[in-house]
């Protein structure tokens, strides 16, 4: 049997790393694979966002006002306690909790505390009609594409997040907040005096 001598592969370059990367095709292939893996990881991380937990900083993205022009973010309320209420006009439990939230705002709203509504995945006209119907006096923002609700990690509407003056979430209420829930879970954390 004739023993064949295989040609020795020699690539210019002094170190193994240099020799590897000199092969342009290998480099492009590795780059392609890394790009695909990177995109997959990015997609998974983005989709798998679990939202905020109690103790986490609340999202501070600016949102347009539901009524009037311009936008606002939670940063505009720094130094105050804020009860972020994520709602939609088509949501029946939201209709039930709206009067309780308005009552709480009238009793406790001031320079230390406010309710802040976020109308999510809703038609702006329907949202404005809802605000008018229930006589809601607290500020309202609009989250048409649901990005803000996604950032908070809501699984439905309504959900409420009590954010402290440093911007951290202190209470997360799933489902509608009635007078009893507000009195037992929100009220004790707020400053004693309304100002």
């Amino acid at each position: 049997m004739v023993e064949r001598k295989l040609p020795k592969l020699e690539v210019a370059g002094s170190t193994p790393v240099v020799r590897f990367f000199v092969s342009t095709r290998s480099f492009i292939a590795v780059l392609g694979v890394l790009a695909v893996v990177g995109l997959l990881v990015f997609g998974l991380v983005k989709k798998g966002s679990s939202g905020v937990q109690v103790g986490d900083p609340a999202p501070t993205a600016a949102l347009p006002r539901l009524e009037g022009s311009g936008s606002e973010s939670l940063n505009d309320y720094q130094g105050r306690w804020v009860l972020v209420n994520v709602w939609a006009s088509w949501c029946i439990p939201c209709r039930e909790e709206a009067p309780a939230l308005e009552q709480f705002q009238r009793e406790r709203g001031g320079s230390n505390f406010t309710v802040l509504g976020i109308d999510s995945r809703d038609l702006s006209g329907d949202g404005r009609a809802f605000v008018e119907k229930y006589g809601l006096s607290y500020p309202q923002l609009r989250d048409g594409n649901g990005d803000a609700a996604h950032e908070y990690g809501t699984t439905g509407v309504p959900e409420n997040f009590l954010v402290d003056p440093s911007g951290k979430v202190r209470v997360h209420l799933l489902g509608p907040a009635d007078e009893e829930i507000l009195r037992e879970q929100v009220e004790p954390l707020l400053p004693k005096e309304k100002s």
Binding site: A88, W90, R121, L123, S124, G144, N145, D147
Partner: protein, 154 residues
């Protein structure tokens, strides 16, 4: 004369066709197939949630106002963002949804063609430029093949 007539007909079609399309009344079933229910994550056509019903009512209202399909889709995008469209728009970053697959396909086809070309150059043809010899059985195998063929020869 005949050429002029043909040219006039083509020009008339070019002018009238878009006008006719623009004048076509938008319909709810047609739009429902092209937009999403943002809460359900399905086509609006398949959705029956309270939010979907509001969205359908909104579209019907705009149809009654005489808005075109494009205007209604723009209004929906203004309300819910680009995510409301079942297909991404043909502009901006969303264009990449259409361009990237085509470019990837072209690159893959080019890589395949280059690979085949290299493979054929490396070992696909005869080295000495002569006529390639037909591959086939030889010796004992060839005899057995001949015997088998003769047996089945009608």
């Amino acid at each position: 004369m005949r050429g002029r007539l043909a040219l006039t007909a083509v020009l008339a079609l070019a002018v009238l066709a878009p006008a006719a399309a623009a004048g076509q009344r938008a319909s709810l079933p047609e739009i429902e197939k092209q937009v999403m229910c943002p809460v359900c994550g399905t086509l609006l056509q398949l959705a029956e949630s309270p939010q979907a019903l509001r969205e359908k009512a909104f579209i019907s209202r705009l149809i009654e106002e005489g808005r075109t399909e494009a205007q209604i889709k723009d209004a929906l995008v203004a309300e819910y963002g680009n995510e409301v469209l079942a297909l991404p728009p043909h502009s901006g970053f969303s264009l990449s949804a259409y361009v990237v697959p085509i470019v990837a396909l072209l690159i893959a086809a080019a890589a395949l063609a280059a690979g085949v070309w290299r493979w054929r150059r490396a070992g696909g043809g005869p080295k000495d430029g002569g006529t390639p010899r037909a591959a086939g059985p030889s010796g004992e195998d060839a005899d057995r093949l001949d015997a088998d063929l003769a047996r089945y020869d009608l």
